[in-house]
């Protein structure tokens, strides 16, 4: 294998992982980026989605079909979570960001333990025909267990983008971020719109979970390692930009892949946060622009 081959492989795996990060970060791009709800429980919800797929897979259902089946229940779960959140905070007046952070922090722990109690803390994996195979293009090998979840990223993001752009309810969600009053004047209930958006965000968790469980086995605590990454992506993507999420995620994937290959894999967990901190320190105005 030549140096160039290795570089190409590094780039390809960066793109693959980036697409996967994008689908994991997508829900947060909606809750945090659009609704300004710092849902740090999203990665835990993603893992929960992964467990849903594992259980369905045990019954012989293909992970991708299981993901499709999970969308409705997770959508409903998200609406329920939003209702709880809104009842706890927004009704008391302005929702304090810091309190909701704490709430979601507690929620993520409860989800993790809930999974431990139900399924144990052992690793869980799925089986599917495309796991274990790989496509070869010359010296570049793309394993199926990475390719399939990596395709989920652009597909989901594309669908969501169309939804936000071309449907009334999608437009309403984007509008709620900017001007709640205008929405009520238009005869829409902002709370209902937000609830739907939160449901949608949570529904993407099951797709993110599918992506993760296809790459490799998951355990209940796997979400913790994603928190830094997903926030870095959402913030860097410019708060709520759906296509931006994909672009930034792929850039991050490549950065991690480069560090892991050419520096030392042991440094890679710090990459996302280092980039995030650097961005916060150097370009705060760019991030501030989209805040309320």
């Amino acid at each position: 294998m030549t140096t160039l081959d290795i570089l190409l492989n590094v780039l390809v795996s960066g793109v693959l992982f980036g697409s996967i990060y994008a689908v994991v970060a997508l829900g947060l791009a909606i809750t945090f980026g659009i609704l300004h709800i710092p849902n740090i429980a999203h990665p835990a919800l993603v893992i929960m989605g992964g467990y849903f797929v594992v259980q369905a897979n045990r019954l012989g259902i293909d992970p991708l079909i299981a993901a499709a089946l999970g969308i409705i229940p997770f959508y409903l779960l998200g609406m329920l979570l939003y209702t709880f959140y809104a009842n706890s905070f927004e009704r008391r007046g302005r929702a304090e960001v810091l309190q909701s952070l704490t709430l979601f922090f507690g929620l993520s722990l409860v989800i993790e333990i809930f999974l431990v109690l139900l399924f144990g803390s052992e690793l869980q994996s799925v089986s599917a025909p495309y796991i274990g195979t790989s496509l070869k293009f010359g010296q570049i090998a793309i394993p199926g267990r990475l390719l399939v979840p990596a395709l989920l990223g652009p597909v989901t993001i594309g669908l969501l983008w169309l939804y936000f752009k071309y449907t009334n309810s999608g437009t309403a969600i984007r509008a709620v971020a900017h001007d709640e009053r205008a929405l009520s004047i238009a005869g829409l209930d902002p709370a209902a719109v937000k609830r739907r958006a939160f449901g949608l965000a949570t529904a993407t968790a099951v797709i993110g979970g599918t992506a993760l469980v296809l790459i490799g086995p998951i355990d209940p605590f796997g979400g913790r390692f994603q928190i830094g990454r997903v926030f870095a992506i959402v913030v860097l993507a410019g708060m709520g930009s759906i296509p931006g999420t994909l672009v930034v995620a792929i850039m991050l994937g490549i950065a991690e892949s480069l560090v892991s290959s050419y520096l030392n894999p042991a440094w890679s967990p710090g990459v996302a946060f280092a980039i995030l901190l650097a961005a916060l320190a150097l370009r705060p105005q760019g991030l501030f622009g989209a805040a309320r």
Binding site: G106, V110, L280, P284
Partner: protein
Amino acid sequence: MTRDSKIFLIAAVAVLLAGLLAPHVLKNPFYFFAGYVILQYVVIATGWNILGGYAGYINFGAAGFFGAGAYASAFLFNTFGIPLLGGLVAACLIGALLGVLMGYLTLRIQGVYFAIATLGLVIILETIIHNIPALGGARGIVVYGPPPPAWAAGPSQYMFFLMLLIAVASVSLARWMQISWVGRGLRAVRASENAAECSGVPTLRLKLLACAASGAVLAAAGAPYPFYTSFVEPVTVFSLLIGLNAIAMPLIGGTRTWLGPVIGALLMASTQQIATITISSELNILFVGIVLIAFVALAPNGILGLVARRSRETPR
């Protein structure tokens, strides 16, 4: 000095005296092992609350500061033979520096970014430790501290008293910050940053001061840890449970005053010390998580808030 301050001073001295006398009354060393952990959490909760409670900035990375303190004292002792006291000072400095750094990078923007950045602090520090062989990497460092001084009844009693000193010092600092211009300024910033700034409060500097004090106290809680366990490794000192407890204890006790975190820590840490030998770590975390959610959603001002409300509602 106000009457309250006099009472506080007398109480602090009484607590320290009781700590000195305790080994002569309680002969069973177990109490001192368990007591050390409880006091360690009093310090952690107090340190967290300086920033989280007074200024309203949530720090998810308490374990990062704790771990930094633990590693600082372990490294200084093993490499240069610097005793724990020196390690404690160094830990405070490092904690303060880390706090200022985190604050400086994020506080100019919005509170939520500070919180997110602190989530990453632990991961970054852990990654750094893993990659520095002098700090033992993932294998950890064994620390054989000196034998306790002659006046102490034993190592556990000595470590307990040391942690008691740190706790009293931390709580005194937190109390002073709360009742002085610092606390008033921080509460003003929390209520309205603009109005505070226009009242002459140097908001950024004040927040950085709170970051530094909070970081120093959190790191101080970690400094004696290597001497307590004789061993430091990344997994335990950067444990999620530390970060979780640091938030949960003040929120449960009440974040507005210095007393809240103390009450929260005493309650929760004692429960957990008993639970250590009765329930599993998963149930332990579940318990803390649910209590946390319940308090945030239903009683945002903690136990002290509940007590205050009740006393206000009952006719005098």
